[in-house]
Amino acid sequence: MRHIISVLLENESGSLARVVGLFAQRGYNIDSLTVAPTEDATMSRLTLVTHGNDQVIEQITKHLHKLIEVVKLQDLSESAHVERELMLIKVKATSNEQRDEVKRCADIFRGQIIDVTAKTFTIQVVGTSDKLDAFIEALKGSVIMEVARSGVSGISRGEKTLTL
């Protein structure tokens, strides 16, 4: 099953390598990974999407906890949460027909065209990973030149927080 694990990590050199190393070393999967500092500059928040059975996920959270630099963590998928991923996608758009089609499609997905040239459109789409997958699928008729996805970021709904 797919799990989204959010981790508060001491913002020290090598701490990210430790998390990634743990997954590589013990043969766990990383489907996506995002990391950036929080409002407190001494801490980073890392969001990791992984999959595995309950036993594997339990081991993953336990081993993450064991890392000295891990301050706190939470399996977001265990309760109500919001998740978003950002995608930048560059497509070929030369003819008027192509340009109209891509524009229409982007509108349907509430995407924004953030760069335009005579031959290309670059679109930004935000949503769940499924939605981004669907957008790529919808553009199958066009020529996709490049895709850059941020990986999933997430947060609990309501009062629940992952803070110190």
Binding site: Q25, E58, K62, I68, E69, L164
Partner: protein, 579 residues
Amino acid sequence: MTSQNTKTEMLSGAAMVIRALADEGVEYLYGYPGGAVLHIYDALFQQSKVKHVLVRHEQAATHMADAYARASGKAGVVLVTSGPGATNAVTGIATAYMDSIPMVVLTGQVMSHLIGGDAFQETDMLGISRPIVKHNMSVRRPEDIPYLIKKAFYIAQSGRPGPVVLDIPKDMTMPNERYPYQYPETLKLRSYNPTAAGHPGQIKKAVTALLQAKRPIIYSGGGVIMGQASEELTALARKLNYPVTNTLMGLGAYPADDSQFIGMLGMHGSYEANMTMHHADVILAVGARFDDRVTNNTKKFCPHATIIHIDIDPASISKTINAHIPIVGLVKPVLAAMVAQLEQKKTKPDSKALESWWQQIEAWRSVHGGEYQQDTPVLKPQAVIEAVSRITKGEAYVTSDVGQHQMFAAQYYKFNKPNRWINSGGLGTMGFGLPAAMGVKLNYPDADVVCVTGEGSIQMNIQELSTCKQYGLAVKIINLNNGYLGMVKQWQDMNYESRYASSYMDSLPDFVKLAEAYGHVGIRVTKPEELEPALERAFALKDQLVFLDIHVDPKEHVYPMHVPGGAMHEMFLSKTKRT
């Protein structure tokens, strides 16, 4: 970090390293100098509190420190230079990591501004050691050195212990740059706060389950040794009158001479221990991790048992075998709490069920009971270990290397005290035995320290005979010489129709002459009748290292042995018998 007053001492980074070790109470530092750590060595030279032991290869330094930690419970400390100095220490760090041994390893590093530029003797030691340490850190500012050293000891020795590497770039130790020194007395980390006491509700549940058992067993591991909980374990077992088995790492936690002790369990465990485990209805696992060398096939593991698992590391619980009653905490307070609860309870163990359980166990005991062929013209390795056990009254520190001799030592030496059996259980590091014996002897000069080894393993760190001479380390080396890599040969006999691919140790040195060349005493034993007198002589030579080159039967196998892929109770009992 802390407020600095006018009295604060000003020290160089190098001096701070040594001073912090002294303030931590470190007596010995095991290491080898080199370019990146010369400032530190110079600071070491200018004081007398911390003493340095110069090994002949960095791996030996790590094993010495490791063995000191296993014998004393306190972290051993290693100092090596950058590059090859650090990489030579890697095997020793991994050895300590696999057995959860506290160790602090200070590795030199090239100047900060050179890092990443492929400088001379530069290796990314943080990267290399990351998967085999509990934690690693590097010094970014010289003034952080006292804090980082405190942190290294704190992390290494608390929770589930393990090795910590501190990488020190050379420019952090410049002799002419001084900084205020103050060693922190305590340390608190927001991201690391290991649990100590177990959950009271879980402990209560465990006690109830234990009292309801009809066929109980206590299975204890290295956690009881490192957690210094041998006394509590013994008290609990005696109170309940339940059988006790120890893992390879846990030997000595419960006295081997006691009638409730049924031997080691696992791949080469005793028949009775493995049978008792398989048929048990309640297993109390204490500081043990259900290692593959214990469980055999996990799918067939102890099908009738309710499993209570006490461990300081939550990740060890339900990792390979699902625990029905998990208790996360230090084994010592948890066991003490269990004993206290038992004392207050009116319910007692089911004596009738226990009586028939013990009858069954006694019957199993008589099936194999560690038998081996007696009165043979060639010496049996088991007989050698039994003789050593007898002569040292089960009280020596026994270190071992890896292979058949290690298993014979574990099976036939009667360990009655904890912290006496020192071997590389998890990583299985050949070359561990001699440096380990040295580390123990240096710190316990009055104790008998025996290194049980083989002609394969001993040659992996034989250069340390020179270190032994330098520091007068009078260890007794029991070299069970059968001319083969015995355990490899055993597997080749059992699984490869005796095709001895590279398991034959041709061109062995004359170990007696070799010992003498290093300035020690060498004794060769080739006949059974020579054994006792040779051992008597060796142990009488209190101040000398004695290398006993004992020629033993090359055909001997270690039994019992788990049938691969089978359950706990499926074993080969000899070359011709199996369960």
